[in-house]
Amino acid sequence: MNLNATLLGQMIAFGLFVWFCWKFVWPPLLSAMEERAEKIEQGLKDSEESAKKIIKAQEEADSMVKSAKSEAKKVLDNAKQQADKIVEDAKNKANEEKDRIVSSAQAEIDKEVVNAKKSLEKDFAVNVMAAVKKIVSKEVSSTDHDDTIKESLNDFRK
């Protein structure tokens, strides 16, 4: 309990410990802790910013999708219209072709009919003439009766 030189020894020891703490313990620990605090703060700020960026990007993407959709619709409509037009054109063309073919066929038929009639007329006249020749060769010359035959032929034609 008496005070003795231990007092001095302890004062020296205390001084050394405090000095050591002051030089080698406190500053590195505190600065490291402050550095981390800064890092955490920066990290929080960054994450907030990136959250904002994400929202912005989402909005951008949404608007892009929207515009793309409308564009696609436009293109589709156009295509439909074009297709309709093509179909319509094709129909019209086909109809025209049909009409043309039908009318040309009709003309052919008419021509055939006229030809047939003509050849029939001719054959008939020849046959009739032959027959009439046979009948009347003895009595009348063919020249005398040509007019009569022509007359009758004209009647027949009517």
């Binding site: 005070l3 007092l7 020894g9 302890q10 205390f14 703490c21 313990v25 620990l29 505190l30």
Partner: protein, 332 residues
């Protein structure tokens, strides 16, 4: 484990545990006494003769020193004969050991500091640094001084570690040490007034240095002479301020010492209730043993509070005093 195990009376046991291991100079012709082991006078006599000493007829072997020299003190008379230039080996050893443990732990944490992957030790140390930093920032506002916070940290941890030694059972270290030939051993450095006074004096020296540095020497003299009553009451001012000044280190030293010494004393008194002499154990003895064990547990739990509180108070007051030292002198 109490008095009877070492053949001492309870008073001797107490005195033994409250005595430091002192190493100091003894003059030529000084008579040293050693405790003589043995049950009968004859046994004690032969024990003394084995050691090359005379038997004094009752309890001790005695030896008269033929020359001056440094010795380990064996009793109070030795300590008194040594005077001021003696060292309390146990106090120095344990305090420096504990201080080194503290410094080592913190320095290692500082060296291996990892921002991304803190170890548990680092987390604890960061918590402590944060705590001390908060206290210092909240209390020390008068000026900027980078020494205050590390000093507060050192005081808190060093004192805490030394106080915690009080929770080590009172005989756990001294008894084996005695068997190994160490006559006295006080394991709680803060129960030695030398240590607490050394801390308080160091703080006081810093207080004076920082006071004079911030107020100037004239300012410092003014602050203790023109306060609190004005220049016409200078002697009264001086009287009051000087008492106030001296009270600072005195209260610091005595508060810590008193608390820990008393705590240790109560542990010793409780230890005195417990006996390991099983052969002579009576019913009352068993009751006393159980009561002693229970009491020492209760006191230890309560002491955890005191141990931390006293370390904190010492640190806190140091910071407060440092703040006062840095305040500028103001004329009231």
């Amino acid at each position: 484990m109490a008095s009877e195990s070492s053949g001492r009376t309870f008073q001797e046991y107490l005195a033994h545990h409250l005595q430091n291991l002192v190493y100091g100079p003894l003059p030529e012709g000084h008579e040293r006494k050693f405790y003589a082991k043995g049950d009968t006078a004859a046994e004690k006599d032969s024990y003394c003769q084995d050691k090359g000493m005379d038997y004094d007829g009752s309890k001790y072997c005695k030896e008269t020193l033929a020359e001056d020299g440094w010795y380990l003190a064996n009793n109070k008379t030795d300590v008194e004969a040594m005077g001021f230039w003696a060292l309390n080996i146990d106090t120095l050893f344990f305090s420096i050991l504990l201080g080194s443990i503290f410094v080592f732990l913190f320095a290692r944490a500082a060296k291996n500091f990892s921002l991304e992957k803190p170890t548990k030790l680092q987390c604890f140390i960061e918590m402590m640094i944060d705590f001390i930093n908060g206290v210092v920032k909240g209390t020390f506002k008068a000026a900027k001084n980078t020494l205050i916070a590390p000093m507060a940290l050192t005081i808190f941890f060093w004192v805490l570690l030394m106080n915690v030694m009080d929770l080590v059972p009172v005989d756990l270290i001294p008894y084996p040490a005695e068997l190994l030939g160490v006559p006295y051993l006080k394991v709680v450095p803060t129960t030695d007034l030398n240590l607490t006074a050394a801390l308080a004096l160091s703080v006081f020296v810093l207080y004076l240095i920082f006071s004079i540095k911030s107020k100037g020497f004239i300012g410092f003299i003014k602050s203790i002479s023109l306060h609190p009553f004005g220049p016409w009451m200078l002697p009264a001012n001086l009287f009051i301020e000087i008492i106030d000044l001296i009270a600072k280190p005195l209260s610091l030293a005595l508060r810590l010492y008193g608390n820990l010494y008393a705590g240790e004393m109560i542990f010793l008194l409780i230890a005195g209730m417990v006996s390991i002499n099983l052969a002579e154990l009576t019913l009352t003895g068993i009751g006393l043993n159980l009561a002693g064990i229970a009491l020492s547990l209760i006191w230890a739990i309560f002491h955890i509070l005191i141990v931390v509180l006293q370390a904190f108070i010492f640190m806190m007051l140091t910071v407060v005093y440092m703040n006062m030292a840095h305040e500028k002198f103001e004329q009231h």
